[in-house]
Symmetry: D2
Subunit: 363 residues, 4 copies
Amino acid sequence: MRADVHRFSLTDPSDVSGLKEAIDRGAIDPKTIVAVIGKTHGNGLVNDYTRGYLTLCLSLLIGERTGETPEAVRERVPFVFSGGVEGVLSPHYTLFTVTADEAAGAGNALAIGVAFTPAMRPSDVGRQAQIDAVAAAVRQAVAEGSIDEVHFVQVKGPAFSLAEIINDQNAGRPPVTDNPGKLMSFGRAACALGVAKALGEIPADRAVEAAVLKDLSLHSSVASISAGVEVRTNEVIVMGMGRRWSGRLAIEHTTMTDALDVASLHAMVQRLGFPSAPQIADPGRLRAAFVKCEAQRDGLVRGRPHTMLNDGDINEQRHIRGAVGAIVASVLNDTGLFVSGGAEHQGPDGGGMVALIADRAGA
Amino acid sequence: MRADVHRFSLTDPSDVSGLKEAIDRGAIDPKTIVAVIGKTHGNGLVNDYTRGYLTLCLSLLIGERTGETPEAVRERVPFVFSGGVEGVLSPHYTLFTVTADEAAGAGNALAIGVAFTPAMRPSDVGRQAQIDAVAAAVRQAVAEGSIDEVHFVQVKGPAFSLAEIINDQNAGRPPVTDNPGKLMSFGRAACALGVAKALGEIPADRAVEAAVLKDLSLHSSVASISAGVEVRTNEVIVMGMGRRWSGRLAIEHTTMTDALDVASLHAMVQRLGFPSAPQIADPGRLRAAFVKCEAQRDGLVRGRPHTMLNDGDINEQRHIRGAVGAIVASVLNDTGLFVSGGAEHQGPDGGGMVALIADRAGA
Amino acid sequence: MRADVHRFSLTDPSDVSGLKEAIDRGAIDPKTIVAVIGKTHGNGLVNDYTRGYLTLCLSLLIGERTGETPEAVRERVPFVFSGGVEGVLSPHYTLFTVTADEAAGAGNALAIGVAFTPAMRPSDVGRQAQIDAVAAAVRQAVAEGSIDEVHFVQVKGPAFSLAEIINDQNAGRPPVTDNPGKLMSFGRAACALGVAKALGEIPADRAVEAAVLKDLSLHSSVASISAGVEVRTNEVIVMGMGRRWSGRLAIEHTTMTDALDVASLHAMVQRLGFPSAPQIADPGRLRAAFVKCEAQRDGLVRGRPHTMLNDGDINEQRHIRGAVGAIVASVLNDTGLFVSGGAEHQGPDGGGMVALIADRAGA
Amino acid sequence: MRADVHRFSLTDPSDVSGLKEAIDRGAIDPKTIVAVIGKTHGNGLVNDYTRGYLTLCLSLLIGERTGETPEAVRERVPFVFSGGVEGVLSPHYTLFTVTADEAAGAGNALAIGVAFTPAMRPSDVGRQAQIDAVAAAVRQAVAEGSIDEVHFVQVKGPAFSLAEIINDQNAGRPPVTDNPGKLMSFGRAACALGVAKALGEIPADRAVEAAVLKDLSLHSSVASISAGVEVRTNEVIVMGMGRRWSGRLAIEHTTMTDALDVASLHAMVQRLGFPSAPQIADPGRLRAAFVKCEAQRDGLVRGRPHTMLNDGDINEQRHIRGAVGAIVASVLNDTGLFVSGGAEHQGPDGGGMVALIADRAGA
């Protein structure tokens, strides 16, 4: 098997011209698409509808070319979009394809597995039900994807509008919070703890529901969680290295210990064979990058106060995505990055996970 | 003469406790303060009142200790505050003092000169009157400050609310625009061209009023311009190196050619004696940094689209300050930076000026 | 002929469940839909993609039920969506259907006509080309719709992102401005003047391109203009009373002279047969309401200053929609209103057009 | 005694020219000022510094004219400023003076009493300590002010930045929440319950700490609570009618049951002697108006969905202030209103308190 990565710029959230052209010239067989991850133009918060818009447009296009209904495409392919391209970040989507590769001998290469949990209700979010469902889906994706070394687990969990939360509450199922934005936070936290459980980052016998958003020392070093109103299940994409996989692509990851931790970025880049330099000179070898980040909860960055958590005009996630996204872009020489805020239990407080896929040729 | 630099964190825009404590323990003689530059908590746009609030609080404190009225302090000392501490940036103010230094032999060291233009009306902004007044003030500051090599010219020009603009218009003096935000942009542009004129960056005989916001190839490589409703004159602070000055401080500057130009940053840092590294290891030697930045007008950063100029929720200046501020912070290992948006004619389109003051001891 | 009006709430911009259910139970024949007007969840500015999202979802649904392609539906039916449901306003869409009504004798009743201009380029916006094209389309819609008395002309004109503007400029076609938000304003102004020309509100021989956004005394009292990146033509919907039409619906309109002009609202409501009262008691008779509004350009409302034009955090259009929308909602006892900002040449400075469709039964 | 009311427009938060002029021409004796209430230009959220800025400027001016220090003025006079003048609202401040009035026989007229609680820590906010302290201060103000019939109780409680909250937490005093914005909400709720306790709106023996932000059926019908980082005590101003007071001013209040409840507004206006009309014709008789409002928690206004609680771009309080402020302004024909969001326990869910002071002459 060979996993490939195709990244396209977005002029607006309905712009699927890049994929259309690639299918038309035979560069991508739409049946081989197994996952899509991207950054869209919205605010990345509850009232961001650009994620659903792009999901609809891509599933219409793929279905039109494969003969599937759009609904069938969405059940088969996880579409994980995060809104918010603050600062220098660039809206884009990245397709992952898996093809048989009989000519090439198998080696150690980029490996991908996907799985879905059952649909969740508002009252499931942030609770043991979501933790367990995500952990099971991660184990399934690792197994079915023959992944030997996990470097990145992307989960897109459900978010709910106020009306949906209240409907569930009125049906006798109280949520952990009736604040839609806060519920997104609970959901990301539960998903991250589910990933950590599945991968053994948290002891299997440790109860974790009580730790959700409380004990931030529990975290996964490879989880990246988004939430959005356009999904109802938890969509799980696991990436890593696998000996049954072939091709020139490799993936690495690291943990930024805080927002200014460029040393970890440089070490990761060098593990992928790039020479030591303040900025990558040949960004063409980069195929995709995934970043999680969060405003440090004590209100400081390296001892100086930041204002992200006091701001009533710009949401803290928009602040930190713009800042950490720019820092990573300055090292990678590339602004087409998946940078997602809300890193609850996805790395240490104030820091976050970074994963990078690169072409080893030329290294 | 010796110029010194004192930087204090701000918990809120009225927090002058740092200076008060420094005066009380004799570390700063308030009579020696010649300029104050800082970043405050507001949005950095027309309706940002945090600049004026800090100006009032500092002038009250300084006046109380020197015996001057607050008004006299403000006429003597330029207070240049820029609002907007997006992302990891940290609110702070930096005081510049000049003292006699007879013990030390004069050498080549940080030199400072200040000057003020007459008060401007809304209808003067963005026009030849402002260009000429600023050019004259720059020449005066260079001469009086005995500055041999100019590295940084900070100007704070006036901004006006809609009511003030309309009053002036009704008095028969039409402004270049009646949009308050746009008028700030015209003013910054005119000030930058005034600086460029004074320093010979634009030929003395070249008419420039017609170039304001039109011909962006005309620019100053050392100008940093802010505008705010709390000033009526253009306040000019020139910094550079001077042979008649003593002390361990030195200043350098560079031009970022675009938002991701970290190479220029590293070259500047090394000119100040820091070893080559992705991030400065001993930020304690840094005394102040000044950054101008702007969203690239063709909508691209290194070929990929950005969304800063299409955004109706977050002003383009807030986007670019957060991004470029974070990149510079990641190199300097310091978030207490003066990062100001609106770099019209203050560096190339999409780029901007950066200046850095450091202690040479330990280099 | 009989015109009917069907209003549906939107839980999110892809929620077409209301129409689907109405088609399924036979209440609406999708072939009879001639226009859709609505308010969606976005910011109503350049980067609002909720308008396009709903357009896609509705055209998919209608096409599925009529056998048309979604593209064919969009060419036949104008979809006019305005983003921004600030304050108490409620997201919704209103469908207009036209059916043969042979049983009923014709009377004087709500009449509708629609027309489209050719596609526009960024460089056409705000210019004579757009004014003339819109005027011709209005005349066509009035004639084909047999409208005797025009009360409301809704135009949705094109908006363009920065990239599209620059592409057109680079092709040798300079726009009136390269600021995307400002270009929306120019476009709305040109459309309004086109309406005024077609209806004789401006003398036919008067040149008007020079008046765009300059001479605001020229305006239409029935025009309501929106702009959005999701359309390329100008879509024109004319409503009024026609003797060849039947049914119980009637339309009236008025001009609010400023944001607090409730007297005009009450007079209009009474012309539709509602009793005099501070608030309509039986809002069920209301079928649709259309409101244009704008922040008064001298910065005052009835002599006291407002801050809408100085605000860097919330766009002026969001302020005024929230305010005027709430006032109209408080009189009509209904929050499902089409309230649109940017009333350039669509009523006097600071005021705007209001139109109301009501069922005369019960009056 | 006679209470008088003086309202001044604000061009910016440091604009105290109105009061200065009034003192200079003898219209106001600064020693008689007992309270100041106003609306400033900020966002009304945690990072709103315009409240503190105006407080400083007014206390400097008053102190300069009375011979008091600014600190002494602030200890004597409660300055209650709420940020956020969305939509048509106009920034202003209203001074309340109390003078001996021996000529006039005492009658039933506007009466004012003020009191302060001790300073609070972050960990006191939202708890019994704050409830009890506020209740005691209300009782004191009623007694010292000889108020027979209470119509309005304004409390300004403390808010804290993240850094202050964390400092208190680290000192062993955990807050009810470490989210600064949420803590403001807890504080307003506790203050409102304290008012209700003091006035007998809640049975004296009922424990209320557990009801804070939980049981919204407990509320005061006359409380209006603001919170801001610029105060440390709870400042209490009680207004009502008193037989020992003289003058032409009277106060009334009502409860809006939801955002569109104009019927209650009209009834209140008529109780003050204004004729029945959709809009007051002679707004000159109005001296001050106070409004509390809040987005309805079930996401509906009169059965239709609103979007205020799902919005990541504009805070819910800014939405509802703009909407309800405009509605009240349209009835009162006046935009210089004190409209404050965050009406926790200050009226029914989705509604809020309105109080009005008018001159009875001419009624």
